[in-house]
Amino acid sequence: MRTDGEIELVANRMRRDIIEMLEAAGSGHPGGSLSAADIMATLYYSGVLAWDPADPCSPERDRFVLSKGHVAPALYAVLAQMGYLPHEELTTLRKLGSRLQGHPDSNLCPGVEVGTGSLGQGLSIAAGMAMGLALDAKASGEELRRVFALTGDGELQEGQNWEALMFAAHRKLSNLVVLVDNNNLQIDGHVTDVCSIDPLDEKLRAFGWHVITCDGHDVAAIRAALAEAVACTASPAAIIFKTIKGKGVSFMEDQASWHGNAPSAEQAAQALAEIDAVGAQLAAAAKEA
C-alpha cells in the first residue's frame, strides 16, 4: 500500500515510459494512455487490486481487463513499474517478435489477462470472469475475488457494452467494477459531438449500477472511489473518471489528433521535459513530507 504521493510519482514515471515507448515505436496511442495513467497507477498501487507480480497467475488474484486495449502502453508501463516487465523491454513495443503487442496479447504476456483491442468486448469478458470467480468462491469458501475493467467513454458507443451492463446488473455481479476513462475524446472528435453517451451516470444507474463520479487525475479521490466501489455488495459498481486525454503533456491535452499518433523525437523531448518537471516537484514534495 503506497501513499498518494508515491502513487503520483508512479503515474509520473508511467507517463515518461509511455512517451518513450511510443517515440521508439513510431506509432501508438498516447492520448488515452496518458489519461488513464493515474487510474491505473492507483488501481495497481493502492492495494485495491490483489495482484502479485511474483505470482501473476495465482488463482487468488483479482483480474484487470483492459477493454480499451489500445492504451496497452499504460498497462505495460504499470507492469514495468511493478517490476514485472523488464524496463528495457518497453521500447520493444509494437516491434516484430515483441511480447508487447500494439494491443495486449495474453498468450505472450501473462500480466495481461485477456487479449483486447477490438472495442466494446471487455465488459462482457469481465462479467464472465466475475461469474466464474463467484462460482469459485461459492465452491471453495475462499474470499470472493474481483474483476476491474477499464473502458473508454467513446468505446461505450459499442452496443455490446450495454448488453454486458444489463447482464451484470441482472446477475448482481458485485465483484465487478467498471472504470470509465471519461476523457470525452475519440478519433473523430469530442464524444459529446460525435455521438453523445450522456448522461452516462443516469444511464448506468438506470441499468442498475452503483455509480461514482470522480476526478480521474486526483489520486486521493481515485483511491476513495475505488474503496467505495468495492464496498458495494448489492450491485456491480461503475466509476466515471473525469479525465483529460493526453494529461501531463501540454500540447497533447484534449486534442483528438493525439489519439493515435506517436511523438517525434523533438515532441517527445518536450513532453519528457514537462513530465520530468512535474516529477521533480513530486519528488521534492515527497522529501518534505
Binding site: 485477456v114 466494446g120 464472465g128
Partner: protein
C-alpha cells in the same frame, strides 16, 4: 432411431458433467431449442442465460473460460456464429480460449423460418479463424462424439448442429480420437461423394440409387472440415479420381472449398461442389432439399452428369 444432432447437445454436456468434466453452457434465449435447458434444469450453476445478446454470450463465455472452465455456447447458427463473429475472432480465437461455439439450427433444413434463419455461411466464417477447429456431425451419435471430443481438447471449436431428425449412421459407441476426422462410410470405385452433416445420409441414399444403375459411389463423411483428414480424402480421391462434395451450406468457402483446396494443392483431380449458391427460402426441410438438389435424387442426378 432418427434424432437431430442438436438433441445431443444438452444430454452430452450432462453426461460430461456427471463424469466430472468442468463444462458450462451459455445460451441466448434459445436454451429449449438448442437443448442446453437440460443443463440448466439439472445444474443451474453450470448454465448461464444472457438473453438475446449473442455478442455478450461470447464475451461471458470467454470470461468463464478464463477462470478455468470449458464453456459451450448455443443460439442458432446464424446468430451464434455470425452476429458475434468478431467477438469469436478477437476474443475467443486471438486469446485461444477454451470456448466451444456450438450453435444449432444450421443450414437450409431449418426450413419454414426462411432465409434469415438459415445459416449457409457459418462453416466458411469459422474455418478462416486461426485456432478454430470445425466439426460438422452427421447424426446424433456423431454430434455426441464431437461435443465430447471438443470438451476434452483445449482451445476453440465450432460444432455445427441442425434442427431436423436425421437417420442414424453411427452406432451409440461412436467416438473420435483425432481432430482431423473423416471416414469412408461406403466403399466405391467410380466417384467419391464427400458429404458432411445432414448431407451424409442423403449421399448414402444417393449411392444406393446409383448402385442400382451400376455406378459404384464411395461415400466419405467429412466430419472435420478443419483440420481435414488429408490421408482419408486423398486416398479416396486417388482411388476414384472424381470427387463430388455435398453440404447444406454455401459452396463458397465451405467444406467443398476446403476439400477442393486440398486436392488442388496435393493431388489434382476433378472436383464438383454441390451446395447453396444464394439465400434459401421458407419451406419444409424435405421440400427445400429437393428444390435445391440436395436430397438423394439431386445428388444422384449430379453424379450422373459428372459421369456422362
Amino acid at each position: 432411431m432418427a434424432k437431430a444432432t442438436r438433441a445431443a447437445f444438452g444430454p452430452t454436456l450432462l453426461e460430461l458433467i456427471n463424469e466430472g468434466v468442468d463444462v458450462m453452457a451459455v445460451d441466448a434465449d434459445l436454451a429449449g431449442s438448442t437443448t442446453t435447458a437440460k443443463v440448466a434444469a439439472e445444474y443451474p450453476d453450470r448454465f448461464v442465460e444472457v438473453g438475446i445478446a449473442e455478442q455478450n454470450m461470447i464475451g461471458v463465455a470467454s470470461g468463464l473460460a478464463l477462470t478455468g472452465r470449458t464453456v459451450f455456447t448455443g443460439s442458432f447458427a446464424v446468430f451464434g456464429s455470425g452476429r458475434c463473429w468478431e467477438q469469436i475472432r478477437n476474443t475467443v480465437c486471438v486469446s485461444n480460449l477454451d470456448v466451444k461455439v456450438c450453435p444449432t439450427h444450421a443450414g437450409i433444413t431449418v426450413g419454414p423460418d426462411g432465409e434469415t434463419h438459415q445459416a449457409l455461411e457459418d462453416i466458411s466464417l469459422m474455418r478462416v479463424l486461426p485456432h478454430m477447429r470445425v466439426l460438422v456431425p452427421a447424426d446424433y451419435n456423431a454430434a455426441r462424439a464431437a461435443i465430447r471430443f471438443a470438451a476434452k481438447t483445449p482451445g476453440p471449436f465450432y460444432v455445427r448442429m441442425g434442427r431436423e431428425n436425421l437417420p442414424e449412421v453411427y452406432g451409440e459407441d461412436f467416438a473420435i480420437d483425432s481432430e482431423a476426422f473423416a471416414q469412408v462410410v461406403r466403399e466405391g470405385s467410380d466417384i467419391s461423394i464427400m458429404a458432411c452433416g445432414v448431407e451424409l445420409a442423403h449421399a448414402l441414399k444417393a449411392a444406393e440409387l446409383l448402385a442400382e444403375e451400376g455406378v459404384s459411389a464411395e461415400v466419405v463423411d467429412i466430419m472435420s472440415v478443419k483440420p481435414l483428414d488429408e490421408e482419408t480424402i486423398l486416398a479416396s480421391a486417388g482411388k476414384t479420381g472424381l470427387v463430388l462434395t455435398v453440404e447444406e451450406h454455401s459452396i463458397y468457402g465451405g467444406m467443398g472449398s476446403a476439400v477442393a483446396e486440398l486436392l488442388a494443392e496435393k493431388q489434382p483431380c476433378r472436383v464438383s461442389r454441390l451446395g447453396m449458391t444464394g439465400f434459401g427460402q421458407s419451406g419444409t426441410a424435405a421440400d427445400l432439399l429437393e428444390h435445391y438438389g440436395l436430397d438423394a435424387a439431386g445428388i444422384a442426378a449430379r453424379v450422373r452428369e459428372l459421369l456422362a
